[in-house]
Amino acid sequence: MKDRTLIITGLIIFIALVAFPFWYNMGKASPQPDLVLTAKAKAAGACVMPTAYMRANHMHLLDAWRNSVVRDAKRVFVNPQGKTFNISLTKTCLDCHSNKAEFCDRCHSYASAEPYCWDCHLDQSKENK
Protein backbone atom coordinates (compact mmCIF):
# COMPACT_ATOMS: atom_id res chain seq x y z
CA MET A 1 0.00 0.00 0.00
CA LYS A 2 2.93 2.33 -0.49
CA ASP A 3 1.27 3.76 -3.60
CA ARG A 4 -1.71 5.02 -1.63
CA THR A 5 -1.01 8.72 -2.11
CA LEU A 6 -0.34 8.18 -5.77
CA ILE A 7 -3.60 6.31 -6.28
CA ILE A 8 -5.68 8.79 -4.33
CA THR A 9 -4.20 11.77 -6.16
CA GLY A 10 -4.80 10.02 -9.43
CA LEU A 11 -8.39 9.31 -8.49
CA ILE A 12 -8.98 12.91 -7.48
CA ILE A 13 -7.55 14.17 -10.77
CA PHE A 14 -9.62 11.63 -12.68
CA ILE A 15 -12.87 12.61 -10.95
CA ALA A 16 -12.10 16.29 -11.40
CA LEU A 17 -11.56 15.74 -15.13
CA VAL A 18 -14.70 13.65 -15.57
CA ALA A 19 -16.74 16.21 -13.69
CA PHE A 20 -15.20 19.05 -15.69
CA PRO A 21 -18.39 19.95 -17.60
CA PHE A 22 -20.32 20.16 -14.36
CA TRP A 23 -18.04 22.39 -12.34
CA TYR A 24 -16.95 24.43 -15.34
CA ASN A 25 -20.55 25.38 -16.16
CA MET A 26 -21.73 25.69 -12.56
CA GLY A 27 -24.02 28.63 -12.08
CA LYS A 28 -23.89 29.52 -15.74
CA ALA A 29 -27.02 27.70 -16.92
CA SER A 30 -28.29 29.61 -19.91
CA PRO A 31 -31.89 30.71 -19.47
CA GLN A 32 -34.60 29.17 -21.62
CA PRO A 33 -35.19 31.46 -24.57
CA ASP A 34 -38.49 33.30 -24.66
CA LEU A 35 -40.80 32.69 -27.55
CA VAL A 36 -41.04 35.74 -29.74
CA LEU A 37 -44.41 36.08 -31.43
CA THR A 38 -44.91 38.21 -34.48
CA ALA A 39 -47.67 40.78 -34.49
CA LYS A 40 -49.68 38.51 -36.77
CA ALA A 41 -49.33 35.53 -34.44
CA LYS A 42 -50.36 37.68 -31.48
CA ALA A 43 -53.37 39.00 -33.32
CA ALA A 44 -54.48 35.48 -34.27
CA GLY A 45 -54.55 34.63 -30.55
CA ALA A 46 -54.59 30.88 -30.98
CA CYS A 47 -52.51 28.44 -32.93
CA VAL A 48 -53.98 25.41 -34.70
CA MET A 49 -53.96 23.61 -31.35
CA PRO A 50 -53.77 24.95 -27.76
CA THR A 51 -50.45 26.58 -26.89
CA ALA A 52 -49.50 23.99 -24.27
CA TYR A 53 -50.11 21.21 -26.74
CA MET A 54 -48.13 22.95 -29.45
CA ARG A 55 -45.23 23.61 -27.11
CA ALA A 56 -44.94 19.95 -26.18
CA ASN A 57 -46.15 18.21 -29.31
CA HIS A 58 -45.64 20.43 -32.36
CA MET A 59 -43.20 17.89 -33.81
CA HIS A 60 -45.79 15.12 -33.59
CA LEU A 61 -48.43 17.34 -35.14
CA LEU A 62 -46.05 18.24 -37.96
CA ASP A 63 -45.34 14.56 -38.54
CA ALA A 64 -49.06 13.84 -38.72
CA TRP A 65 -49.50 16.76 -41.12
CA ARG A 66 -46.68 15.53 -43.28
CA ASN A 67 -48.04 12.00 -43.50
CA SER A 68 -51.52 13.25 -44.23
CA VAL A 69 -50.43 15.46 -47.12
CA VAL A 70 -47.76 13.28 -48.63
CA ARG A 71 -49.37 9.91 -48.31
CA ASP A 72 -53.13 10.44 -48.01
CA ALA A 73 -53.58 13.58 -50.13
CA LYS A 74 -55.55 15.19 -47.31
CA ARG A 75 -54.42 18.77 -47.13
CA VAL A 76 -56.93 20.29 -44.74
CA PHE A 77 -56.56 20.01 -40.98
CA VAL A 78 -59.63 20.26 -38.72
CA ASN A 79 -58.79 21.17 -35.15
CA PRO A 80 -60.97 20.18 -32.16
CA GLN A 81 -62.79 23.54 -32.38
CA GLY A 82 -63.80 22.64 -35.94
CA LYS A 83 -61.61 25.30 -37.53
CA THR A 84 -59.91 24.27 -40.76
CA PHE A 85 -56.35 24.98 -41.81
CA ASN A 86 -54.42 24.40 -45.00
CA ILE A 87 -51.68 21.94 -44.09
CA SER A 88 -48.44 23.59 -45.04
CA LEU A 89 -45.33 24.24 -43.02
CA THR A 90 -44.31 27.19 -45.13
CA LYS A 91 -47.71 28.61 -46.06
CA THR A 92 -49.58 28.12 -42.79
CA CYS A 93 -47.06 27.84 -39.93
CA LEU A 94 -44.56 30.32 -41.31
CA ASP A 95 -47.32 32.69 -42.35
CA CYS A 96 -47.93 33.66 -38.74
CA HIS A 97 -44.55 32.64 -37.36
CA SER A 98 -42.61 34.43 -40.05
CA ASN A 99 -39.72 34.93 -37.64
CA LYS A 100 -38.19 31.48 -38.04
CA ALA A 101 -34.83 32.53 -36.60
CA GLU A 102 -36.42 33.66 -33.35
CA PHE A 103 -39.42 31.36 -33.21
CA CYS A 104 -37.93 28.03 -34.29
CA ASP A 105 -34.17 28.15 -34.32
CA ARG A 106 -33.42 29.65 -30.91
CA CYS A 107 -35.35 27.00 -28.99
CA HIS A 108 -34.09 24.22 -31.19
CA SER A 109 -30.49 25.18 -30.62
CA TYR A 110 -31.18 25.61 -26.89
CA ALA A 111 -32.65 22.11 -26.77
CA SER A 112 -29.95 20.83 -29.11
CA ALA A 113 -32.61 19.63 -31.51
CA GLU A 114 -31.61 19.63 -35.14
CA PRO A 115 -34.69 19.09 -37.26
CA TYR A 116 -33.93 18.71 -40.96
CA CYS A 117 -37.09 20.48 -42.13
CA TRP A 118 -35.11 23.32 -43.64
CA ASP A 119 -32.93 21.14 -45.82
CA CYS A 120 -35.87 21.16 -48.22
CA HIS A 121 -38.58 23.49 -46.95
CA LEU A 122 -37.84 27.12 -47.54
CA ASP A 123 -37.72 29.88 -44.97
CA GLN A 124 -40.26 32.32 -46.34
CA SER A 125 -38.74 35.33 -44.59
CA LYS A 126 -35.70 35.07 -46.86
CA GLU A 127 -37.88 35.55 -49.90
CA ASN A 128 -36.25 38.75 -51.04
CA LYS A 129 -32.75 37.45 -50.93
Binding site: D72, V76, V78, I87, C120
Partner: protein, 261 residues
Amino acid sequence: MEDSRRRFLKLAGISALGLTAKPVLDAFAKEHAKAPAPEFEEGPKALKAMQWAMVIDTRRFKSDADLQPIIDACDKIHNIPVFENKRHEIKWIWDEEYEHAFPTNPNKFLTERLKDTPFLVLCNHCENPPCVRACPTQATFKRKSDGIVLMDYHRCIGCRFCMAACPFGSRSFNFRDPRPFIPKITMQYPTRTRGVVEKCNFCAERLAVGKLPACVEASKGALVFGDLYDPKSEVRKLLKAHYTIRRKQELGTEPAVYYIV
Protein backbone atom coordinates in the same frame (compact mmCIF):
# COMPACT_ATOMS: atom_id res chain seq x y z
CA MET B 1 -49.23 -27.87 5.00
CA GLU B 2 -46.23 -25.69 5.46
CA ASP B 3 -45.53 -25.96 1.77
CA SER B 4 -48.95 -24.62 0.79
CA ARG B 5 -48.64 -21.72 3.22
CA ARG B 6 -45.45 -20.73 1.50
CA ARG B 7 -47.17 -20.90 -1.83
CA PHE B 8 -50.03 -18.81 -0.55
CA LEU B 9 -47.67 -16.14 0.71
CA LYS B 10 -45.83 -16.12 -2.63
CA LEU B 11 -49.02 -15.72 -4.57
CA ALA B 12 -50.25 -13.00 -2.24
CA GLY B 13 -47.00 -11.15 -2.68
CA ILE B 14 -47.17 -11.32 -6.45
CA SER B 15 -50.81 -10.21 -6.42
CA ALA B 16 -49.95 -7.24 -4.21
CA LEU B 17 -47.24 -6.29 -6.69
CA GLY B 18 -49.76 -6.59 -9.52
CA LEU B 19 -52.14 -4.22 -7.75
CA THR B 20 -49.46 -1.56 -7.36
CA ALA B 21 -48.39 -1.94 -11.01
CA LYS B 22 -51.77 -1.08 -12.42
CA PRO B 23 -51.88 2.60 -11.41
CA VAL B 24 -48.38 3.03 -12.82
CA LEU B 25 -49.36 1.46 -16.12
CA ASP B 26 -52.51 3.57 -16.21
CA ALA B 27 -50.45 6.70 -15.73
CA PHE B 28 -48.23 5.73 -18.65
CA ALA B 29 -51.19 4.89 -20.84
CA LYS B 30 -52.83 8.21 -20.04
CA GLU B 31 -49.76 10.12 -21.08
CA HIS B 32 -49.94 8.69 -24.58
CA ALA B 33 -53.69 8.87 -24.95
CA LYS B 34 -53.60 12.61 -24.27
CA ALA B 35 -53.03 13.63 -27.87
CA PRO B 36 -56.42 14.03 -29.54
CA ALA B 37 -56.86 12.22 -32.81
CA PRO B 38 -56.37 14.89 -35.45
CA GLU B 39 -58.79 15.07 -38.30
CA PHE B 40 -57.81 15.54 -41.90
CA GLU B 41 -59.83 16.33 -44.97
CA GLU B 42 -59.30 16.82 -48.66
CA GLY B 43 -59.37 20.33 -50.01
CA PRO B 44 -62.70 21.45 -51.45
CA LYS B 45 -61.28 22.08 -54.93
CA ALA B 46 -59.16 18.93 -55.22
CA LEU B 47 -59.39 17.13 -58.56
CA LYS B 48 -60.09 13.43 -58.27
CA ALA B 49 -59.61 10.41 -60.48
CA MET B 50 -59.17 6.69 -60.29
CA GLN B 51 -55.95 6.77 -62.30
CA TRP B 52 -54.57 9.98 -63.69
CA ALA B 53 -53.25 9.62 -67.21
CA MET B 54 -51.76 11.81 -69.91
CA VAL B 55 -52.00 11.80 -73.67
CA ILE B 56 -49.20 13.55 -75.54
CA ASP B 57 -50.00 14.57 -79.07
CA THR B 58 -46.54 14.40 -80.61
CA ARG B 59 -47.81 15.71 -83.94
CA ARG B 60 -47.95 19.13 -82.36
CA PHE B 61 -44.22 19.26 -81.67
CA LYS B 62 -41.87 20.18 -84.48
CA SER B 63 -38.67 21.07 -82.68
CA ASP B 64 -37.06 21.49 -79.29
CA ALA B 65 -38.33 25.03 -79.19
CA ASP B 66 -41.89 23.70 -78.93
CA LEU B 67 -40.99 21.59 -75.92
CA GLN B 68 -38.89 24.07 -74.04
CA PRO B 69 -41.73 26.19 -72.58
CA ILE B 70 -43.35 23.02 -71.23
CA ILE B 71 -40.14 21.78 -69.64
CA ASP B 72 -39.38 25.23 -68.26
CA ALA B 73 -42.82 25.52 -66.68
CA CYS B 74 -42.17 22.34 -64.70
CA ASP B 75 -38.56 23.14 -63.81
CA LYS B 76 -39.52 26.54 -62.53
CA ILE B 77 -42.35 25.60 -60.16
CA HIS B 78 -40.63 22.49 -58.84
CA ASN B 79 -37.24 24.06 -58.14
CA ILE B 80 -35.32 21.75 -60.46
CA PRO B 81 -31.59 22.46 -60.28
CA VAL B 82 -29.39 22.80 -63.35
CA PHE B 83 -26.16 20.82 -63.25
CA GLU B 84 -23.49 21.12 -65.89
CA ASN B 85 -22.38 17.57 -65.20
CA LYS B 86 -24.78 15.26 -67.03
CA ARG B 87 -24.33 12.57 -64.40
CA HIS B 88 -25.77 14.83 -61.75
CA GLU B 89 -28.68 15.95 -63.88
CA ILE B 90 -32.15 16.13 -62.32
CA LYS B 91 -34.98 15.43 -64.76
CA TRP B 92 -38.73 15.52 -64.23
CA ILE B 93 -39.85 16.08 -67.79
CA TRP B 94 -37.40 16.21 -70.66
CA ASP B 95 -36.98 15.60 -74.37
CA GLU B 96 -35.79 12.38 -75.92
CA GLU B 97 -35.34 11.00 -79.40
CA TYR B 98 -37.94 8.56 -80.64
CA GLU B 99 -35.40 5.75 -80.82
CA HIS B 100 -34.43 6.26 -77.19
CA ALA B 101 -37.92 6.78 -75.87
CA PHE B 102 -39.24 3.71 -77.70
CA PRO B 103 -36.20 1.44 -78.05
CA THR B 104 -38.31 -1.68 -78.36
CA ASN B 105 -40.38 -0.50 -81.31
CA PRO B 106 -37.59 -0.90 -83.81
CA ASN B 107 -38.29 0.01 -87.35
CA LYS B 108 -35.31 0.00 -89.59
CA PHE B 109 -36.52 2.97 -91.53
CA LEU B 110 -38.34 5.62 -89.62
CA THR B 111 -40.47 8.33 -91.10
CA GLU B 112 -38.71 11.64 -91.33
CA ARG B 113 -40.99 13.14 -88.72
CA LEU B 114 -40.41 10.50 -86.04
CA LYS B 115 -36.71 10.64 -86.65
CA ASP B 116 -36.49 14.37 -86.13
CA THR B 117 -39.22 15.15 -83.61
CA PRO B 118 -38.15 15.37 -80.01
CA PHE B 119 -40.39 13.33 -77.70
CA LEU B 120 -41.49 14.60 -74.34
CA VAL B 121 -40.88 11.99 -71.67
CA LEU B 122 -41.67 11.95 -67.98
CA CYS B 123 -42.56 9.52 -65.22
CA ASN B 124 -45.25 7.23 -66.61
CA HIS B 125 -47.05 6.81 -63.30
CA CYS B 126 -47.40 3.13 -64.17
CA GLU B 127 -50.40 1.21 -63.03
CA ASN B 128 -48.01 -1.53 -62.00
CA PRO B 129 -44.94 0.44 -60.94
CA PRO B 130 -41.73 -1.56 -60.49
CA CYS B 131 -40.09 1.28 -58.54
CA VAL B 132 -42.68 0.93 -55.79
CA ARG B 133 -41.93 -2.76 -55.43
CA ALA B 134 -38.21 -2.06 -55.24
CA CYS B 135 -38.37 0.63 -52.56
CA PRO B 136 -37.34 -0.84 -49.20
CA THR B 137 -38.83 1.98 -47.12
CA GLN B 138 -42.04 2.63 -49.04
CA ALA B 139 -40.75 6.12 -49.68
CA THR B 140 -42.11 5.79 -53.18
CA PHE B 141 -45.65 4.55 -53.36
CA LYS B 142 -48.64 4.43 -55.62
CA ARG B 143 -51.30 6.68 -54.16
CA LYS B 144 -54.47 4.67 -53.79
CA SER B 145 -56.77 7.64 -54.24
CA ASP B 146 -55.64 8.58 -57.77
CA GLY B 147 -52.88 6.26 -58.93
CA ILE B 148 -50.06 8.80 -58.91
CA VAL B 149 -46.66 7.29 -58.16
CA LEU B 150 -45.30 9.63 -55.51
CA MET B 151 -42.14 10.17 -53.54
CA ASP B 152 -42.02 10.76 -49.81
CA TYR B 153 -38.67 12.52 -49.62
CA HIS B 154 -38.80 12.37 -45.84
CA ARG B 155 -38.55 8.62 -46.02
CA CYS B 156 -36.14 8.18 -48.91
CA ILE B 157 -32.82 6.71 -47.80
CA GLY B 158 -31.18 7.22 -51.18
CA CYS B 159 -30.55 3.56 -51.96
CA ARG B 160 -31.53 4.11 -55.63
CA PHE B 161 -33.16 0.71 -56.01
CA CYS B 162 -36.09 2.53 -57.60
CA MET B 163 -33.79 4.05 -60.20
CA ALA B 164 -32.53 0.60 -61.09
CA ALA B 165 -36.08 -0.72 -61.21
CA CYS B 166 -37.55 2.04 -63.38
CA PRO B 167 -37.30 1.01 -67.04
CA PHE B 168 -37.85 4.59 -68.21
CA GLY B 169 -35.03 6.41 -66.46
CA SER B 170 -37.61 8.71 -64.93
CA ARG B 171 -35.82 9.07 -61.63
CA SER B 172 -32.88 11.26 -60.70
CA PHE B 173 -30.65 11.16 -57.68
CA ASN B 174 -29.43 14.21 -55.83
CA PHE B 175 -25.73 13.58 -55.69
CA ARG B 176 -25.20 17.13 -54.49
CA ASP B 177 -27.18 19.66 -52.51
CA PRO B 178 -29.43 21.01 -55.27
CA ARG B 179 -30.22 24.36 -53.68
CA PRO B 180 -27.26 26.39 -54.96
CA PHE B 181 -27.98 25.17 -58.49
CA ILE B 182 -31.58 26.27 -58.76
CA PRO B 183 -31.67 29.24 -61.13
CA LYS B 184 -34.57 30.96 -59.40
CA ILE B 185 -36.10 29.44 -56.30
CA THR B 186 -39.87 29.24 -56.15
CA MET B 187 -40.65 29.83 -52.49
CA GLN B 188 -43.99 28.03 -52.55
CA TYR B 189 -42.44 24.64 -53.32
CA PRO B 190 -39.77 22.85 -51.28
CA THR B 191 -36.43 21.98 -52.76
CA ARG B 192 -34.94 18.54 -52.30
CA THR B 193 -31.89 17.65 -50.29
CA ARG B 194 -28.73 15.75 -51.03
CA GLY B 195 -29.19 11.98 -51.00
CA VAL B 196 -32.80 11.59 -52.13
CA VAL B 197 -34.25 10.38 -55.39
CA GLU B 198 -36.78 12.60 -57.14
CA LYS B 199 -39.09 12.50 -60.12
CA CYS B 200 -42.24 13.93 -61.65
CA ASN B 201 -45.20 13.94 -59.27
CA PHE B 202 -47.91 14.65 -61.88
CA CYS B 203 -48.23 17.98 -60.05
CA ALA B 204 -50.01 16.40 -57.09
CA GLU B 205 -49.73 19.74 -55.28
CA ARG B 206 -51.60 21.49 -58.10
CA LEU B 207 -54.28 18.82 -58.45
CA ALA B 208 -54.99 19.27 -54.75
CA VAL B 209 -56.03 22.87 -55.38
CA GLY B 210 -57.96 22.20 -58.57
CA LYS B 211 -55.26 23.04 -61.12
CA LEU B 212 -54.02 20.87 -63.95
CA PRO B 213 -50.33 19.94 -64.11
CA ALA B 214 -48.01 22.78 -65.12
CA CYS B 215 -46.81 21.01 -68.28
CA VAL B 216 -50.39 20.46 -69.44
CA GLU B 217 -51.18 24.10 -68.81
CA ALA B 218 -48.10 25.26 -70.72
CA SER B 219 -48.62 22.90 -73.66
CA LYS B 220 -51.50 24.78 -75.31
CA GLY B 221 -53.50 21.58 -75.69
CA ALA B 222 -50.77 19.24 -76.90
CA LEU B 223 -50.77 17.49 -73.54
CA VAL B 224 -54.10 16.25 -72.25
CA PHE B 225 -54.68 15.10 -68.72
CA GLY B 226 -57.56 13.13 -67.25
CA ASP B 227 -58.93 10.05 -65.58
CA LEU B 228 -58.10 6.86 -67.43
CA TYR B 229 -61.09 5.06 -65.98
CA ASP B 230 -63.69 7.71 -66.67
CA PRO B 231 -65.11 6.90 -70.12
CA LYS B 232 -66.13 10.54 -70.53
CA SER B 233 -62.74 12.03 -69.73
CA GLU B 234 -60.73 13.95 -72.32
CA VAL B 235 -58.03 11.34 -72.18
CA ARG B 236 -60.40 8.52 -73.02
CA LYS B 237 -61.92 10.50 -75.86
CA LEU B 238 -58.49 10.94 -77.41
CA LEU B 239 -57.58 7.30 -76.86
CA LYS B 240 -60.76 6.32 -78.61
CA ALA B 241 -60.15 8.58 -81.58
CA HIS B 242 -56.41 8.03 -82.14
CA TYR B 243 -53.90 5.25 -82.31
CA THR B 244 -51.54 5.66 -79.36
CA ILE B 245 -48.36 4.01 -78.21
CA ARG B 246 -46.79 3.70 -74.79
CA ARG B 247 -43.17 3.31 -73.75
CA LYS B 248 -41.93 -0.28 -73.30
CA GLN B 249 -45.46 -1.55 -73.02
CA GLU B 250 -44.33 -5.16 -73.24
CA LEU B 251 -42.77 -4.93 -69.77
CA GLY B 252 -46.24 -4.93 -68.27
CA THR B 253 -45.83 -1.86 -66.09
CA GLU B 254 -48.90 -0.31 -67.74
CA PRO B 255 -47.63 3.24 -68.26
CA ALA B 256 -50.27 5.94 -67.93
CA VAL B 257 -48.65 8.27 -70.45
CA TYR B 258 -49.88 7.68 -74.00
CA TYR B 259 -48.38 9.08 -77.19
CA ILE B 260 -50.28 9.92 -80.35
CA VAL B 261 -47.76 9.48 -83.18
